[in-house]
Symmetry: D3
Subunit: 281 residues, 6 copies
């Protein structure tokens, strides 16, 4: 799966402009001869999963169209410390101007892909899948969700518009689970899935008996209750566990038999993967 | 220090649009009566430093201009688990539509402010200051740098345009330290500071003997070398230590006597601070 | 259901700018005294269903914030010839400047709502629902889909991103129905519905025997074949009829028992509803 | 006459982004191999006049720069059912991603060109010309006016800024025909034409005796009155008939001798021309 | 005549963002207490004609919505040294942040209005009018043309789209004057005026004998030739003199009897009018 | 030093769109055959310094990508009347469409570079440097500051964000010179320079005795006082003279020994340099 070039180009243009501020890289312009060329290698400084190659490289081509780029690794590849991801050859000023914007995309998105892969690895052998949430950083959602997928995770809703997720407050305001499900069913088109959050096994019973949901989110359930819920549902709905998920707890949650485990930290708290640019001059 | 409303409004508009996708919150629109009102409290679920109150609240006012908002905490305030940050009263549909965008700004920026405060606290009593870098997330630099400052940190360059930072590659391409400093001095306006990176004590000597720099970045120096460098410089230049800084190493670095310690992790790897929205319906 | 103010404001700003070109209404500015006031009534000149009231009125408030607006009809209301939709009182120059932009939104969207209502009326008493398609006019999709809903229709996919619709070409390129369904299932998140197009009863059998689809689009089926398909499917999948649908054929199609009938003409060929602005000066 | 590439590119970028929503075509990405190629032919499914070739094809080149495109028909060409308009060869995923955006431009604009050509044909042999109005769809005016011209029609004003059209309300607010004409004349630059609307033969006399107008719009005149007005004016002003124009009435109106007949339906109510994409895979 | 608020707001937002760069006024934020208020008076430091009041004041209201503004002079008013144009009371930080953006609009536009008024004054008593050209500064055309009008001048074409101006190169490429006029006449709508440039009296004869033009531009004619041309034309066309016009030559040109004198310098070379901001703190 | 292509492309796109208005050059489209080619030479019509070559030429390449461009002069080159700057060969329609936008950039920026060079020349042999200010035209600051540098001048602050300049009003609001300097020092990062304006020799003593400033602006000092101030400062601070600077006064000011002389007129009042486009058809 790949992002549209339109979205990538818009974000890279915005990021370069943010770094250029009033319009020029005063260090490179003053210290580097206009006709100097250089060769840069993007290298991994720790192991992890690569994501963000295309936006990263676009930072170079938007700064100067004349770069000669050799790609060595693709998004989704596992990186070892020292691996060369790509080699970029061309005007030295532009190399240094684009460096930080390139790395800011790649280190962040690779950080997300790497953390996602760690969660996926942690539940290896269970039937559960790791999903991201809408707890993303402003302006970066499409990129972050893409990186989760690159890391082996699954995408939950992309926004408020593409699926229905009825939470506790919606239920309260709608006048109860049955009323909320009916209202959603009535309004949703046939291409829209409906998920509903429940906080107790009692609520789960209401959902099951009323019908109309495709997925049930079991929010902050203990592992025992998760297990009981999964047995009670018995495949009638897709099950999603959420709340209190981290690398220490995720395997036990997966072993309760839930289908999906959603993890906000994938997109709101993933540390950057350490990548750098080595330049030969 | 506060961000311009123009920058805040543009970012919040973009973030809301990202969440709304094709243009509506199908869950709230279908399950909540159009005339229902609600009261929401933004609450801390762990302790930390608040940052991002204004963009967070703007998510509500951009979704519906009729909210009645009571502010209880300001950016920079220390939060305890359970503290109420603000109370928002108004149309229930809009409350739920804006919730996630609000929290995405506030949890991320408060995460940065909190991490910054931890670094500042770790070097308490030394004369050093904690500074952020240009290792920021694409599109969020102004917000992230603001949050560092809210947490007690200091801002380094905002971009490639507002100060000169001569790094190893610039030196090599310029033909050495003296040539790079001369070129920079020659081109820079009188309002621009010049910093130069050195990797060895030998390079430092060159910088000192040639003159022309305002700040020297001591990159990946051992603490012994840092100490020796500080003594050798003796106040002639501002000193900045960079490389290998974390909460475990930062105090010893500060105790070498450097003026500034720059920390990329403040903006590229700060975990979100846990904040939530409690809604009474 | 209502559109986000962000989407409405952006579109109205764009439409007014399009009409103002180099920046002013030279007729009103030259012929009308700067301090003249006026009262305008938006009136129906034929019967139909109102849609687009908010973007229409926003054209006035964006031209001058001081208008006093009285709303008489809401989106979804049935209009008779002569009905007053809203009364707008304020600066006469701005009234005439905003008039055409207001009407261009309201006549087009009301035209779509009216045509949608005619299709819905034509199948009254059957269990089928009328849905729109992605055959929309560039830049107006969110508004057009909203108008279909106002007219009693249902929304299909909003874009390429929010649901999977496997068409004949996808099937061919994927290597057959089974391969396409497996690939889609494998890639889609749990919040994404999968629809597949079939052109023959034979293909339908493959879909049913393989599983994995939520909806089946019966494309250009004769009414006999539609009926047979519906019986064969027997509720296992949602059924959608498409192709050759118009006001003359739609009832017979609905009576075959399909769940959904999708109609491209709702958004690509709806004639405008005749509305006008009567001004008292 | 052709539209500026800047306007075309902006509109196509916007339309593709509208269809891609959160950023990807999940069906093509999941079901079609990344390296599959395909050949698509844009074909006419009914006869009409082609318009919108360039924006339509730009949808493909903006999705993937590597398409090989063969153009068979040009804007303004008359199409028969089955005619191939262009052949597009390249990456299969991108072919299917861009298909709908391409067709949405071409079917809408060809619909307008075709309807325009029908009106032009209907008055063949008279000296009248068919003109469009400002009753266009928001955001599409430049494209729609271009399509009218492709169909043989003529463009009226493009906006409020490029010519003066004094309507009944302007007259009333200005204090009468003479005052309105004087004010317009006084304010308008020498490059601006002045048109004035009259509703009666009496008003026409005022316009003629006062002078200062270049064109007179005879609004909702009966054909007898139109004829009388044309004789009375006798070439002193350009004459434009408006109101109640359709394919059934237009010829009789043209035969009254008016110069211009303006038709709002060309741009607010033209049905799409049926075009499709045949793909060989 | 006034500019649309949409155009003003967009330009002011852009100008403020340009001045704020990475997003804040570091001087005002650091030196002025957050709760300090101030009163500023915009004053004339030389005499001239005011233009640009609205964009200038918008710089304040976009920086802080809480300003209390008293307007003393209007666009078009003649200013004496020391005149107070407006008084602005409110938050001191925002006063100083917006100051320069306000003045940059007002001093530039007042400079244009003042220069325009000088040209108008210079030909007082003749029947000629002073017009601007398309020789404007990128991004500022609508504002500059507005300022010309405020100063008593007249607007020529606003762009390439709103009138036809056939220059020497068009004539050559079209195959001569007659061919160019025919082609233009054939393509132009009835709302479009046609001007043609001639460089000799011989060319003028061709224009007159062929017909089809509304205005003739007499380019770089000597005053004798202008006089002869005016007599020869005798009111059949509007006459425009262009080339070599300055405050020293304009009166003699006007006295040749031409209708319009176009002056590029009004918009490409007008010096700023000296205005300042006096602040009481 | 060169501007980022991102900034240039955005400004040129905006300028072309401004000139194209509703989207087409009606003169060129109607009078010039679609397949006609032409050759244009950009030529100097008076002597001066070239600036703005790249944005100027971009106007052509954005109108048609197929131009063949030969560059004869570079930014910073001194032009004599008649010098050919560049030759552009390609589609004749596009040549004429882009002509004015190209020249509007180049004549304005060359005008600034030429005026800057005149100021630099006027102080030749002194140690002073000429600097521009923030008195720039809205939306053109980066271009104007670039042109000043091309002309041999120096850039002052680019905006409110990249350096601190404490003026009289800041001092008053901060509670005096010492308080203002302390506040600025306290808030500014280590990469930010601090300048303070003084109006008297007495204020200068306060600045010197308190410390904390890098630059002092001597505002509206007499030349005697400038000389005394320079001696008193004796290299402890960079000195900048401002106020009342013109080509007649600048040399005497420079001879007082100040380091920097700032001149608002460079960017707010530079007349255009006369350049033209000669076309062979």
């Amino acid at each position: 799966m790949s992002l549209s070039p339109l979205i990538i180009e818009d974000a890279v243009r915005r990021a370069l402009s943010e770094d250029l501020g009033h319009g020029h890289d005063i260090t490179s312009q003053s210290t580097i001869p206009a006709d100097a060329d250089g060769v840069a290698r993007i290298v991994a400084r720790e192991h992890g999963v690569l994501a963000g190659l295309v936006p990263g490289l676009t930072a170079f081509t938007f700064t100067d169209p004349d770069f000669d780029i050799q790609i060595e690794k693709q998004d989704g590849d596992f990186l070892e410390d020292g691996d060369v991801i790509a080699t970029i050859e061309g005007p030295a000023r532009a190399l240094l101007t684009a460096e930080r914007t390139c790395l800011n995309f790649m280190t962040h998105l690779s950080g997300i892909a790497t953390l996602s892969a760690q969660f996926v690895q942690a539940i290896d052998g269970t039937k559960a899948k790791i999903a991201c949430t809408r707890k993303t950083l402003p302006g970066l959602r499409a990129f972050q969700k893409y990186a989760v997928k690159v890391g082996g995770g699954m995408n939950h809703r992309f926004g408020l518009d593409d699926a229905i997720l009825i939470k506790d407050n919606h239920i309260a305001l709608a006048g109860g689970i049955a009323a909320a499900l009916d209202a959603a069913k009535n309004s949703a088109g046939h291409m829209v899935k409906i998920e509903i959050e429940v906080d107790t096994l009692g609520q789960l019973e209401e959902v099951l008996s009323h019908g109309g949901a495709d997925i049930v989110m079991l929010d902050n359930f203990s592992n025992e209750n998760l297990k009981e819920a999964v047995q009670r549902i018995d495949g009638a709905l897709i099950t999603e566990a959420s709340g209190g998920v981290n690398l220490g707890t995720v395997r036990a949650i997966a072993e309760t038999g839930v289908d999906i485990i959603s993890v906000g930290a994938l997109t709101h708290s993933a540390p950057a993967l350490d990548l750098g640019l080595d330049i030969d001059v």
